[in-house]
Symmetry: C2
């Protein structure tokens, strides 16, 4: 049961108007803003139909209409036009990200920052899911007796480290020996295949007291696993405070609490992302988002790639009344710039 052409046009116009004004759209206002060659009465009839069909909602009798989740869904699926960025807009983003040196974290922070600035909404960047990347190096460096820096280098070119404490009678030589053993044993193994058991078996030849050895292995294991933690960089949350949607402070508080809760947003996006969708963007609107506290919001996310199978996400969170087409074009562009950067690092690093 698809909408006829005229209904589509009207729905599109209503979404556009509502996005820019945040006020319910009236039939008269609509024909003034758009050249439909129809009277307000006709438009009224169409709007009434659209409401019946579930695309529009009416806050109260005798008010204009606002789009429902279904209305927005129709809009983003088949009505909106996604423009490419202007050269200037592209240049701004490219310049901002080019300042960032090769470090992935820095790149993601900058990307998130740029995205929020360009769209005016909340932006986020998720560190890559590294489960499928494999270990390239593991170094354990003794800082002082009892204190060791574990450095983990992954195939994706990602470097993570972690300071750990071990018994202080372990000598640097012993440490180097264990470290070497673990590295050789695990090199080439993907993170998802590394368990405490594989770590332990990698170092089975080391001649050290069991308790001591176990502690070190556990720390190494933790350091490796920690590399797989999803990190999220969020920016521009304060902008939400200026939107009429959140003029009610308790709503704002609720939103902010949800955004700040560790792992909620990152976990959701992580689950929502299929391993195989590359490059296309994904939109979730209002109630489609299963997170309590974000049902007045919409998500637009996409995926960037670090090598073949390794990917992370960038995204934007805004009000349902979001400038979807602008967000999509901005986000797609940022994605592309990130990918280019990462390809370049990769080339430099020789794979």
């Amino acid at each position: 049961m698809s909408l006829d052409q005229r209904k589509k046009l009207i729905l599109q116009a209503i979404v556009d108007d509502y996005v820019s004004t945040a006020e319910p759209v009236a039939s008269k206002a609509l024909i003034e803003r758009h050249d439909f060659r129809l009277s307000s009465a006709t438009v009224r009839n169409e709007m009434s139909d659209l409401e019946q069909l579930g695309y529009l909602e009416q806050p109260h009798t005798s008010s204009g209409r606002i789009p429902s989740d279904k209305g927005y869904r129709e809009y983003v699926d088949s009505l909106m036009k996604v423009d490419r960025l202007t050269d200037e807009e592209g240049e701004i983003i490219r310049k901002r990200l080019s300042e960032s040196f090769d470090e992935l974290t820095g790149l993601l922070k900058k990307a998130s920052n740029a995205l929020s600035e360009q769209t005016g909404y909340v932006s986020l960047a998720l560190s890559p899911r590294l489960r499928k990347s494999y270990l390239k190096q593991l170094k354990m460096m003794m800082i002082e007796p009892g204190k060791v820096l574990v450095v983990v280098v992954l195939s994706a070119g990602v470097v993570k480290d972690r300071l750990v404490r071990i018994p202080d009678y372990l000598t640097p030589e012993q440490l180097a020996q264990i470290s070497k053993a673990i590295e050789t044993g695990l090199c080439g193994k993907s993170l998802e295949d590394i368990t405490l058991v594989t770590v332990t078996s990698a170092a089975k030849d080391a001649r050290l007291p069991d308790a001591l050895l176990n502690q070190i292995l556990f720390e190494a294991y933790t350091a490796i696993k920690q590399a797989d933690n999803l990190e999220i960089y969020m920016d521009g949350t304060n902008r939400m405070l200026s939107l009429p949607e959140f003029s009610d402070i308790s709503r704002a508080r609720c939103l902010f609490d949800t955004l700040a809760r560790d792992g909620i947003v990152s976990g959701y996006i992580n689950e929502m992302t299929q391993d195989d969708d590359k490059g296309s963007y994904m939109i979730r609107i209002g109630q489609e988002i299963s997170i309590e506290g974000l049902s007045d919001c919409s998500f637009v996310t996409t995926t960037y790639n670090v090598g073949e199978k390794i990917a992370g996400n960038i995204g934007v969170i805004g009000p349902r009344r979001m400038e979807y087409s602008k967000v999509v074009s901005q986000i797609s562009f940022v994605r592309q710039v990130i990918n280019n950067h990462l390809d370049q690092f990769k080339a430099l690093n020789g794979g």
Copy 2:
């Protein structure tokens, strides 16, 4: 021109009441809550005097009084009673911080977190000012050709690292040589004494092309200097949204923007801290804070120590109508726990 005893009692009672209710305090309500053995009329006269003297303000005729900045100042300077924490409260904090392993960053995050939770206000922890700490180790570890992890170990037991890019034809041996040279040359020098010149002169014997050498030296220098960056960990900002002071969303936005602006709060606290005040707390109230956007707030901060001369800060930001005595006692306790932890690390690390 000091207040007489009765005026002090009344001012204290007014502050206490206003802090807990957020409503202007009326003479009648005051005598009902406190056993003054005075009629409301007498209290009214005293309140009128206190207003004349600048300790109280009246939002409008025929409303109760609220404390002015001067009133709060008198309160914190000589009226409030600071209780010690109950054993349970102390236990909660101690437990939370004991989970944190030896890493300073982790400890500070936990401390900030606990502080915000215990007080209900915004909390913050500043990384130590490391200018006066000296370099103990500098390691440069080649991750892959062209990519080097620079690890800086400071006297305070602080470890910082930074991933840098260098020309990829530099061999691990050359890198090791330079790294060793810089380390030997700078070891024992305090961060404030290390400049690009000292770094360069430390490696003057290295036989490498100038351009290459300079780049590496610059990266090493940057990594060292970066260790001195003030980092701030803030927690509980969302709580401010529930206070009547910020029920006006534009005020909230203004506050949040100020808190989020990089370096504003940390810079202010840094400047406000004298190098020699150890252990005592510092309070800044309303307009005393020279940051636009925080004039409706109060600061309570104190200093923790990492060794003799190295110190950082923890603090709380809340509404002027803050439970000062509670905050002071909590913050003093957290300070003490942090210091104990750090002393312990230090003992373990042998200085």
